[in-house]
């Protein structure tokens, strides 16, 4: 299958290794990956902060960039959720009915990584090897907007060498919430503190999730605590093999395997 | 313009010309498929779960069982005259010497120790008794002020679920749905039984 990769603005700019891992994983599974160079952002941050008018050209750019793609995959639950639930609405409200119809059609072909692997490709064992103790945080938009359910856990359970430990109060928000983390920084930090306490209680080396944004939040807190527990995106774990353990991660495993 | 006209006018302005036509899906359960015997067990289970006591008896043993219920609620040695009975309660259900509600001022009912009534409907799934203000249920104050409430429920009055109960009730009657003794969860969201309403609820299930 020819898969168009939507890196998302955050991954592309801040944690490019997540998109690279997604691409390598899909190629390893025998699929052709294309990266439309016109891609930028899904518009979620603008919409969720109240700038829905300003989001219109961003969404239009996204629809243009991915026009003609057979399937679009993205390593971000919240961006895919925005594509599914917000893009067409924003366009329609701005009177862009034609573009809204295109956005709707594109949303129908756009998948979050774990959903694409399990539902479209029908694989749960992607042949990965990752010899670490890992806990999984189901990010809110993956959990409640996309309903990815236990797909990420199915994928993680099939990874060789990986010890999966359950995260207490997993379904509680980490406190990121986009601009919420800045506008309500104190409340956001209080939520993060509880999330980190739960992560650390698992004694996992790695906390993983399907959203780079939430991981940047949790990881930023864990790094500030110098806790030794790192955040690694689900795509990076699934892309890891014996030959290339944790490709291009910013830090080494806290506990040597 | 009157406030009435003003508010109604505002609603019409707010809704505009195009009012959505909403279809209400009613694919939730309308009936309860449990066999009758099981339905009674569910009722008992739910009543007891909410700290009501339940005594079961045959149709000929009602008065004696009500007396036993009053033993449960008031302790042995209760005074029959301190038990007020809704006027429509059959003679065969009443222990000897109890007092029928004589229509005295409502606040004076607080002097009674216990109340005996029937019910209009009972709902198994929620452990609910419905009193409808009729002669069998009595006026509302009767089942409210005395601290112990004894309700006699006949098996034919037991329905499975809320949707089965409402059609049996008169929407214009003064209705009280009772599910267990009065309770509060206002302190640390912990349920504590017994606040202003009867602190003891005993149900006599007949048949």
């Amino acid at each position: 299958m020819r898969v168009a990769l939507f890196a998302t603005c955050l991954v592309d700019t801040v944690v490019p290794q997540v998109a690279m891992a997604t691409a390598r994983l899909l190629e390893r599974l025998g699929h052709e990956v294309v990266v439309p160079p016109g891609q930028a952002c899904c518009g979620q941050m603008h919409v969720n902060t109240g700038y829905r008018r300003e989001a219109v050209p961003i969404v239009a750019n996204h629809v243009r960039a991915f026009a003609g793609a057979e399937a679009v995959v993205s390593p971000s639950g919240s961006c895919v959720a925005s594509i599914h639930h917000q893009q067409a609405l924003v366009l329609r409200r701005a009177g862009e009915d034609g573009l809204a119809a295109e956005a709707e059609a594109l949303a129908g072909r756009t998948y979050e990584l774990s959903q694409f692997l399990v539902d479209v490709l029908g694989v749960t064992d992607v042949g990965a090897y990752y010899p670490h103790r890992v806990t999984y945080h189901p990010t809110c938009h993956s959990l409640r907007l996309l309903r990815v359910g236990d797909r990420p856990l199915q994928l993680l359970r099939a990874v060789r060498g990986l010890t999966l430990v359950e995260l207490p109060a997993a379904e509680q928000c980490c406190g990121f919430g986009g601009t919420f983390s800045v506008k309500n920084a104190d409340t956001s930090t209080a939520m993060l503190t509880d999330k980190m306490a739960n992560v650390l209680s698992t004694h996992a080396e790695v906390c993983t999730a399907g959203d780079a944004s939430c991981l940047m939040h949790i990881g930023g807190g864990l790094s500030r605590l110098r806790s030794g527990t790192r955040t690694v995106h689900l795509a990076e774990i699934l892309a890891s093999t014996e030959d290339a353990v944790t490709p291009r991660q910013t830090t080494e495993p806290a506990v040597p395997a | 313009m009157s406030a009435r006209e003003d508010v109604l006018g505002r609603i019409r302005t707010a809704l505009g010309e195009r009012r959505p036509d909403v279809v209400v899906p009613r694919d939730y359960r309308a009936t309860d498929d449990r066999p009758a015997a099981q339905r009674l067990d569910v009722l008992v289970d739910r009543l007891e779960d909410y700290k009501a006591s339940v005594l079961r008896c045959g149709p000929d043993e009602v008065a004696a069982t009500v007396a036993a219920a009053l033993d449960t609620g008031l302790g042995a040695g209760w005074q029959p005259a301190s038990v007020v009975v809704a006027p429509g309660v059959p003679a065969g259900w009443r222990p000897e010497g109890t007092s029928e509600d004589d229509g005295r001022p409502a606040v004076d009912l607080a002097a009674f120790a216990a109340t005996l009534t029937g019910v209009a409907v009972a709902i198994a799934e929620t452990g609910t008794l419905v009193l409808d203000g009729g002669p069998l249920s009595g006026r509302r104050a009767v089942s409210l002020l005395p601290d112990c409430l004894v309700c006699v429920v006949e098996t034919g009055q037991v329905v499975g679920s809320v949707p089965e109960a409402l059609p049996r009730l008169d929407p214009n009657a003064p209705l009280t749905m009772v599910s267990g003794p009065s309770a509060t969860s206002d302190i640390e969201l912990q349920r504590v039984e017994g606040v202003h309403g009867p602190r003891t609820l005993v149900v006599v299930l007949v048949g």
Partner: protein, 507 residues
Amino acid sequence: MTTTPVRPGETPLAPGAPRSGTTFLGLPTAPRGVGHLRGDRPFPEAARDALRDGQLRANLGHATSTIRAKRAKVVGEVPDWEQLRQAGKALKASTMARLDEHLVELERQVAARGGTVHWARDADEANAIVTRLVQATGADEVVKVKSMATQEIGLNEALESAGITAHETDLAELIVQLGDDAPSHILVPAIHKNRAEIREIFLRTMPGVDPELTDEPRRLAMAARKHLRERFLRARVAISGANFAVAETGTLAVVESEGNGRMCLTLPQTLITVMGIEKLVPTWRDLEVFLQLLPRSSTGERMNPYTSMWSGVTPGDGPQEFHLVLLDNGRTAVLADEVGREALHCIRCSACLNVCPVYERTGGHSYGSVYPGPIGAVLSPQLTGVEDNASLPYASSLCGACYDACPVAIDIPSILVHLRAEHVEAQQRTTPEAAAFRLLSRAMSNPRLWHLTQRAASLGRFLARGKPTMPAALPPPASAWTRSRDLPAPPRETFVQQWTRERGGRS
């Protein structure tokens, strides 16, 4: 307690300030200077104080986790919960679509059964009507059933200024009233107090209370029973709200637990019910849905201990005089917003508060309105006009737990996002934030400009001086992030750049 909760008092009116705003259709919002819909400071500021209060955090964490577990258990018992939820949602939507017709029908039915219906455009008018009705009976005190509507309009204060004492009879409301405090939860207004604090309030304020009173919840409840018993028996007037009103039959319903509601609805001679115009259901049958949804969502019980229903007056049983006050107070302004009107579907169960990670940590007082939590964050700004509660739509991480828990499936996150946009679009001047978002919008809709912007951002790595994270001391607004979390240093190259470099023009 390290801080005293601030009563969400109304900001005093500046001379010449308008009493109330209007929406674009000219529909008035709830007036300023009366009632409890507006806080006196923005949410982040109020939340900061609440977050510092360790006792409050502990009380809220304990209470909300208890109720979450109870709710999950009893909702899990119902195999058709989702069907009931969708029916509830549709019923509310269809009610709103014909609200005027249903209200007129309700009025007709109540009047036919001996009740009197009054209409109130706003809080002031409702307070005046109720005060006049109480004065007409000659009573100088009333007993009250817990009611959000009367809290919203500040009825107790209005009665007090007319020399009428209002006794709250719900246990939690009593705790709040005796403690000279403000409610912080829709269902359990004293959720922010633990048993030891409640004991202290009772010992301090209840005349004749047993000095040996312990903090055992049962003992505290018994103290309240004793305190209120005599007030119930002597009361001539009661004031209630309503959970539901059935248009076709004129039936009103109050759902409660303690029996204080039954006392108020049964014993006094006169009953005055204040009800928001959105509380209607069209038919008797519709209650079969809501009586299943509400208790399980609210107290986490299969059914609450007592539900009272009445229509008009019943000779020989209960109050012989009944008044129903139908309250607008900004509701029609909410109705005018096609997205926001869903907030009127709320049945005040408070499930959204109990699952909200923001509410759990900040408590209800931070919201400044009697309607706290997720539903408050969408309802209060709409009732008052969004500019009077502009911080509330942002008081959410948009995690969506509220939407999942809502028994009538109100899409609260979408309404929050909508209200943020309403606020942004209402700004007359360009804020620095708006300027930044506009620039970013231009960049993100033009690939060439976007790549330049990304390249500029990657220069930020020089601030990190080769470390994997940026320095903790960055200027605002980045400082709001770096105060408690590290920010990764941007990489040398973006993914798209690297991909294009490695794979050439192949795409």
